[in-house]
C-alpha cells in the first residue's frame, strides 16, 4: 500500500516538474509546480514528517505559489510578450545527458548506506510538539536569524516598489 502511494506521488511530482519546464505559459508551469509541491508534501508525510507536510501544503502551495500566480495574473502577460525559446528542447536533452554522470555519482554515494526500514514511525516523531521542542531548544538562534532575513526581504521588496514609483514619477 505504502509503495503504491509513494510511486503515485513520485510520478505526480516528476510529471509536474517536467510540465513546469515544458509549458510555455507561466500560468501552466505554476500549476504544474503546485502539483509537484503537493506530491512532495505527501512524500514528507510518508517520511514521518507530518508537520512539514502541513507546512509544505500551507506555505508552499498555499502562500508562495499563490503569490506567484497572483503576480503572473497581475502582470497580465500576453502571448507575444513571452520570450522566444527555439532551442528549449535540444538544451533540455543535452543538459539531461550531461546530468546523468552527476546523478549516478550521487546515487552511488548513497548506495553505500546500509539498508534500513523506512516505514512510518510512531506518533511522536515529526509531530508539532517534538518539532517545536527541537526548533526552540537547539535551533533558536537560526530561527531568529530567519526572522531577520524575512524582515530584510520585506524591506527589500518595499524598496524595489518605491524605486519603481520614483522612476515613473
Amino acid at each position: 500500500m505504502v509503495d503504491i502511494i509513494f510511486l503515485g506521488l513520485a510520478i505526480f511530482a516528476i510529471g509536474g516538474g517536467f510540465g513546469m519546464i515544458l509549458f510555455s505559459q507561466p500560468m501552466h508551469s505554476a500549476i504544474s509546480l503546485i502539483v509537484t509541491l503537493i506530491s512532495l508534501g505527501g512524500i514528507f508525510a510518508l517520511l514521518s514528517a507530518p508537520f512539514l507536510f502541513m507546512v509544505q501544503i500551507i506555505l508552499y502551495a498555499g502562500a508562495i505559489i499563490t503569490l506567484l500566480l497572483f503576480i503572473i495574473m497581475f502582470l497580465n502577460i500576453r502571448d507575444d510578450e513571452l520570450p522566444d525559446e527555439p532551442n528549449k528542447n535540444i538544451t533540455i536533452i543535452i543538459g539531461a545527458i550531461l546530468l546523468i554522470p552527476f546523478n549516478i555519482l550521487i546515487l552511488k554515494a548513497f548506495n553505500t548506506f546500509p539498508e534500513k526500514s523506512m516505514n512510518i514511525l510512531g506518533k511522536d516523531f515529526g509531530s508539532i510538539h517534538s518539532f517545536g521542542m527541537e526548533l526552540f531548544n537547539k535551533w533558536l538562534v537560526p530561527f531568529e536569524l530567519i526572522s531577520m532575513l524575512l524582515l530584510a526581504s520585506l524591506v527589500g521588496a518595499v524598496v524595489y516598489a518605491r524605486k519603481d514609483k520614483n522612476r515613473d514619477g
Binding site: 543538459g95 546530468l99 554522470p101 552527476f102 549516478i104 555519482l105
Partner: protein
Amino acid sequence: MDNFLLAWIVLVPLLSSLILGTMYLYSIKVTKIPNIVFSMFALTAPFISFVLGVSFFFRLLENSDVIIYRAYKWLSVDGYDIDMGFMADQLSIFMVLFITFVGGLIHIYASGYMKDDDGYGKFFFYFNLFLASMLLLVLANSPIIMFIGWEGVGVCSYLLISYYYQDSENVKAGNKAFIANRVGDLGFIIAMITMFYYAGSNGFDYINLELGMANVPVEVLSFIGLALLIGAIGKSAQIPLFVWLPDAMAGPTPVSALIHAATMVTAGVYMVARFHFLYDMIPNVGLFIAYIGAFSALFAAIIATKQTDIKKILAYSTMSQLGYMFIAVGLGGYSAGIFHVFTHAFFKALLFMGAGAVIVALHHEQNIFKMGGMRRKTPLVYFTMLIATLAIAGIPPFAGFFSKDEILLTAFGSGEYFIWIIGVITAVLTAYYMFRLLFVVFHGSNYKENRELHSLSKNMTMPLVILAIGSILAGFIGVPLLLGGQNYIGIWLEILNSKALHVEHSIELYLMGLNILAAVIGLLIAYKKFFNYDMSKVPEYTGLIWNKFYIDEIYDRIFVDKLKKLSIFISYKLDINFIDKIVMGISNGFIRSGNVVARLQSANTRMYAFSMLMGISVISTYLIIVMR
C-alpha cells in the same frame, strides 16, 4: 676609558653628516639655514674624532695591546659571525690621528673656500661622510668592514668630484673616478672571497686571518696579494688605474686636498700595510708592488714637468709620491711608507690649499702661466707654499726629506738598486716640477698686473699656517739614528716591520747626501729655466709628455671604444630587435588573449549555468571512474 669610544671616532662624523644632510634638505625645501650652523656641525666632528683618536693614542702608548671593540653582530650565517668590529692598533690610530687632523684643517679651509657656494650644507655633508668612510676603512677589524669604508670613500669621491654637476665634464670626471675605482674594487672583492675560502674558517677579522694564512699555499697567497693590489692600485691611482686622479681635479680644491692628502689615495697604501702579514709571506708580489710604485712615480713625475694646470701638476705629484709609498710598502718598509703618507698629508694638503688660495685670488684661473708675480700679492700663501715645495722636494730639514730618504734607504738596503735609481731620478724631477710651479706662479712678472684680487678669508689662511708648521715639524718624528735623532715612527710601527735593514752608516750618509743633491739639482734646473720667466706669452705645449703619453687615448681605443660598440650593439640592435620584441610580443599576446577570454563573459546567466553543468559532468565522470 672604554672601548666603545672607538666606534664613536667613526660615528661622530657619520652622525654629523646625517644631520648636515637633513639640515641641507630642510634648508633648500623650507627655509634657508645660515652657513654658520652648518660649519658648527661640520667643523666640530673632525675635532671630536681627533680628540678621541688622541686619547686612544695615549692608551696605546701605555699599553701596546691591540684594542678591539665589537659593536654588534653584523652578519650571522650558519654559525659564522661577522661583527661590526673596530680595531685600534698602532697603525690604525696613527692613520686616524693625521686623517682627522689634516682632514679637520681642510674642513676649516673649505668653510672659507666654499662660503659663497649655494650647496654649502651639501658639500659638508659629503665631506663629513667622506671622513667617516675613511675612518671606518682605517679602524675596521675585518676586510669586509674595511670594504664598507672603501666603498663609502669611492661614493663620496664620486659625489665630490662631480660636485659642480652643472658642467657635464665634471660629471664625466666623477664617473671616470668611480669606474676606475670599480675595477679596483673588483680585485678587492675577489681577494676577500679567496681569503674567506682559504683562510676564513676561524673568523674573518685580521687576527684570525693572519692565523689562517699560515697554512695556505703560496700560490693562493700570491693570488690574494695580487687581487688586493689591484684594489690598492685603483684607490691609490697607480699604473695602470691612475687615469681618474688628474680628472678628479674637476672638484672644488678642498676636495682635491682631502682626496690627495688625508683620505682616499692613502687607502691603498694603508691596505697593503694592513695586510703586511700577507705580503711578508710573498716577497715576490711585494717586489711587484714596488716596481709598480717606482714606475708610477717616474711616469707621473715626467708628465708633471710639462703640465700647465696648477692642480694637475699637484695631482701628478700626488701620484708620484704615492709611487714612493708603494715602493716602501712593497719592499716591506711599512713604517717608511706610512711615514711618507704622514708627511705627504701635511705638505700635499698645504700645496692644494695654497693652490686653491691662488686660484680663488685670481678668480678661478688655473693655468700657471697666466698667474705670475703672486709673491707680492699674497705673501703668506707664497711663504707657506715655499715650505711645502721644499718639503715635497726633499730639502732638509723639511718633512719630505726624512720620509723620502727612508724610503730610498729601504730600496737601497733591500738590494733593489734599479728601483732606487728610479727613486732618485724621480726626486730630481719632483724638485724640478715643483719649483717650476713655484717660480712661475709666485715669481716673475705678473701676467695680469692690474687685476683686482679676490680677498682671502682667515678661514683659508689659518690652516695654511698650521700646515706649514706641520710640514716643517712632521719629519722630526722620524729622524734617522744616524743624525742623532730618534726614529719614533719606526719604533711606533715596529710590529709591522719584519725585516731589519742593514746599511752601513757611511753608505747611509752618502745616500742622504745624494738625495739632497738630487733635490738641489732639480731646484737649480727649475731656477735656471723658470726664475724670472717671461710671462708675456703662455707657452703652448705639444708632444708625448704634454699629452700624458696618450694613456687616456690608448684606454679609449682599447676599452672604451670596444665597450661603446658593444653597448650600441646591445642597445640598438639586440634590445630593439630581440628583447623588446619578445617582451612586447608577450604583453600584446596577453592583451589579445585577454580580449578573447573576456568575450566569454557574455552576461548570459544561462550560459554560465550550462558551463557549470559541463564542469560538474566532467568532474562527476572522472570521480565515477576513479571511485569505482
